[in-house]
């Protein structure tokens, strides 16, 4: 059987960098294995819906296997909430199907337009990481297609090394054909949100510490333009699932119904001058003023978890050159000081992020290349401009000195040295990789950039 591919220049969600790849799009399980046996000197990489920001989903001049057509539900236990589905299933599809039956994702990243297989490959986290950890904690079993063509099941009991190498393994240990996921029972499709507006960094962090234990979900938006006395001010958003009797009366009899939101599409690239220090300052103070301290705001799950999903292609706002999201985690020890150093360093170089988000992380899942560790995680969005990467390199060294690391799902530019220094379980991962993929058939631009298979 002949397999056709589409030659195309693609990018991650940040639209930087760009890569010409050979796109394959299998529609049957058998076709995935057939594709993987094909001729591609630069190897193959599975890809979900392209929501990783940098080069994690790119494989220049090589094969990229789009998994989106393999998205069927295979088994669901309505008693226990255990779902088995194909790796290409999107989170949006899972929510659409199971939320009306009282089940929600146990952990969700900031977009629902991604596949469950990719969520496993990035071991994604959400606003509940401080309590529940990453999605890996809820993955009961995986069916993995190895480059040899063999399909193997792996879990915490079976092929354990392969399981933990695949969690956060960026799709390089095998193709996730099936995921068995434990869903979470909820009483409604709504979230009760308490907003706390803070005046500076100390207050922001202190509020986190005081309140985090009481709420399953928490996240803080920081005003990154503010300096001096206001430095580190922001808005914290604490959330929990609402019970039906907390909903406004019209919703009480149908607690799982959410009115479909109108989506908007940003149809073109905004010119680069739109995002400048002045417009950033205006946006930040507007957002700050719009969110006073307020308790018990009932909002639907879509608005709370996926505020940006309602603007399709919002990534075009950063202009033609794209943007990078720089996300680090910093251990609690000296965490406050290191956070301040990062924000100050960026400000001193007049490099302002458009969006900055802070949250606390809890225990890691055990994935060998997983990002989370106990500490603060800070995500900053920067439009790509001349001189940006030199500033980010300076931020990287603060992170690696502090014993933290950067999130691979977001990264587009850290050095191989930084990576090797900050992912101490790399050699264990490499041992598994060498076992299941001795010829290095599964490749990516990120793997080559970070020299993932080498010893530095």
């Amino acid at each position: 059987m002949s397999t056709f591919f589409l030659q195309k220049e693609i990018t991650g969600w940040g639209r930087f960098p760009r890569a010409r790849c050979h796109l394959y799009r299998p529609e049957r399980v058998r076709e995935v294995a057939q594709t993987l046996q094909g001729e591609e000197p630069a190897g193959f990489l599975p890809r979900g819906l392209g929501r990783a920001y940098g080069d994690a989903g790119l494989n220049s001049e090589g094969g990229v296997i789009l998994m989106e057509r393999l998205d069927r539900f295979l088994a669901f236990d309505a008693e226990t909430g255990v779902l088995r589905c194909e790796g290409g299933t999107s989170l949006a599809d899972i929510i659409r199907t199971f939320l009306p039956r009282g089940w929600f994702l146990p952990v969700t990243p900031g977009t629902k337009f991604c596949t469950v297989g990719a969520c496993v490959a990035c071991d994604v986290h959400g606003k509940n990481h401080h309590h529940e950890g990453s999605i890996g904690n809820f993955v009961r079993q995986l069916l993995l297609l190895l480059p040899s063509g063999e399909s193997v099941r792996c879990s915490r009991e079976q092929n354990v090394d392969l399981f933990f190498a695949t969690l956060g393994g960026m799709g390089l240990t095998g193709i996730v054909l099936e995921v068995e996921l434990q869903l979470r029972r909820v009483q409604s499709a709504y979230i009760v949100v308490d907003y706390v507006r803070t005046r500076n960094l100390d207050e922001t962090l202190q509020t986190f510490h005081e309140r985090d234990a009481r709420y399953p979900y928490s996240v803080a938006w920081l005003d990154c333009v503010a300096s001096g006395r206001d430095f580190g001010k922001g808005v914290l958003m604490f959330g929990r699932h609402a019970s039906p009797d907390e909903l406004p009366i019209p919703h009480r009899h149908s607690p799982f119904t959410v009115r479909a939101k109108r989506t908007k599409t940003l149809p073109f690239d905004l010119p680069e001058f739109v995002l400048n220090p002045l417009s950033l300052r205006a946006f930040n103070s507007m957002y700050y003023r719009a969110h006073p301290t307020r308790d018990g705001v009932v909002t639907d799950y879509d608005t709370y978890f996926y505020p940006l999903d309602s603007i399709l292609q919002w990534n075009r706002a950063y202009g033609k050159r794209g943007f990078v999201q720089w996300q680090c985690v910093l251990p609690y020890e000296n965490g406050v000081r290191n956070l301040a150093r990062i924000l100050e360093t960026a400000q001193a170089r007049r490099t302002y992020p458009f969006l900055s988000v802070l949250k606390r992380m809890g225990e890691p899942s055990g994935g060998l290349l997983s990002f989370p560790m106990p500490g603060y995680t800070l995500a900053l969005d920067f439009p790509v401009r001349d001189g940006l990467f030199a500033v980010l390199d300076a931020l990287d060294s603060i992170v690696s000195e502090a014993g933290g690391r950067l999130y691979l799902a977001k990264d587009a530019r850290m050095s191989a040295e930084t990576f090797h220094l900050t992912y101490p379980q790399l050699s264990r991962w490499q041992a598994v990789k060498a076992q299941v993929d001795p010829k290095g058939r599964l490749q990516s631009d990120m793997a080559r950039r970070l020299r993932l298979l080498e010893v530095l």
């Binding site: 056709f4 799009r25 069927r72 295979l74 669901f76």
Partner: protein, 245 residues
């Protein structure tokens, strides 16, 4: 609630057509050559819609097995009130221009197998005096083109077969619908260059099932293909033969 047999159930078009029937509460029998894939589509339908779905292996090219297959469907599902033929293949098209064995395979799956099975189901429905038969043919069957006539001629034959069947069964209470999709965004079109009016399988499935339920005779999906094919059919042969299509 109807009992519908869907043949060639593993393609995206068939899967999403099954969604449309399952959403209406219909009971389905899904058949295809790759039973493992058929089972995946079936569990998906059961989980999403709570539908009753049966499955069975079916090989379009193995005509001698078709009678037993129809008997099995009748035994399993109790009855057949409608059949949708979605099976089709373009695999081996390149070889079929030179090798009779590849050409034979294309004709067997796209025409002979289809005609064979629908002949048998037509007998069942004719006896019942009601029901529907829908065949997914192709706009490729509307005019022979140099680039795909091994496939197009089989589909053209299938369109004529459905037309004749419709003519014979129209007085017997059985509706026959010919569905002619244009370019559908599936593996048949993937990586074959930029194609005009490329439609998602979801959309083509939705419009196809609507056409069946409305009792249409011939449905181009999306409808714009009716106009496109009208123009293409009207080009005089002495001009058409010089065009590279």
């Amino acid at each position: 609630m109807r009992h519908v047999l869907l043949v060639g159930a593993t393609s995206p078009l068939a899967r999403y057509m099954a969604y449309e029937f399952a959403r209406l509460g219909d009971t389905l029998f899904l058949a295809g050559r790759d039973l493992e894939e058929v089972e995946r589509v079936a569990s998906d339908l059961r989980i999403r819609f709570g539908a009753t779905v049966y499955t069975g292996r079916f090989d379009a090219a193995a005509i001698e097995e078709h009678e037993a297959f129809v008997q099995n469907v009748l035994r399993t599902m109790g009855e057949i009130e409608g059949v949708v033929w979605v099976a089709g293949t373009m695999d081996g098209l390149e070889a079929a221009f030179r090798q009779p064995s590849a050409l034979k395979r294309l004709i067997e799956v796209n025409f002979t197998g289809a005609a064979s099975l629908l002949t048998l189901v037509a007998g069942v429905l004719e006896e019942r005096g009601k029901g529907f038969i829908a065949g997914v043919s192709s706009v490729a069957g509307d005019r022979g083109r140099g680039q795909n006539y091994p496939y197009g001629s089989a589909k053209g034959g299938f369109s004529l077969f459905l037309q004749g069947l419709r003519n014979r069964l129209s007085r017997k209470g059985v509706q026959v619908t010919t569905i002619k999709p244009g370019f559908v965004d599936t593996r048949m079109t993937w990586g074959r260059g930029k194609l005009p009016f490329l439609a998602s399988p979801q959309r083509v499935a939705r419009e196809s099932v609507q056409a069946i339920l409305k009792g249409k005779d011939i449905a181009y999906v999306p409808a714009v293909w009716w106009l496109i094919m009208l123009i293409i059919r009207s080009i005089p042969e002495r001009v058409f033969k010089k065009m590279n299509l």
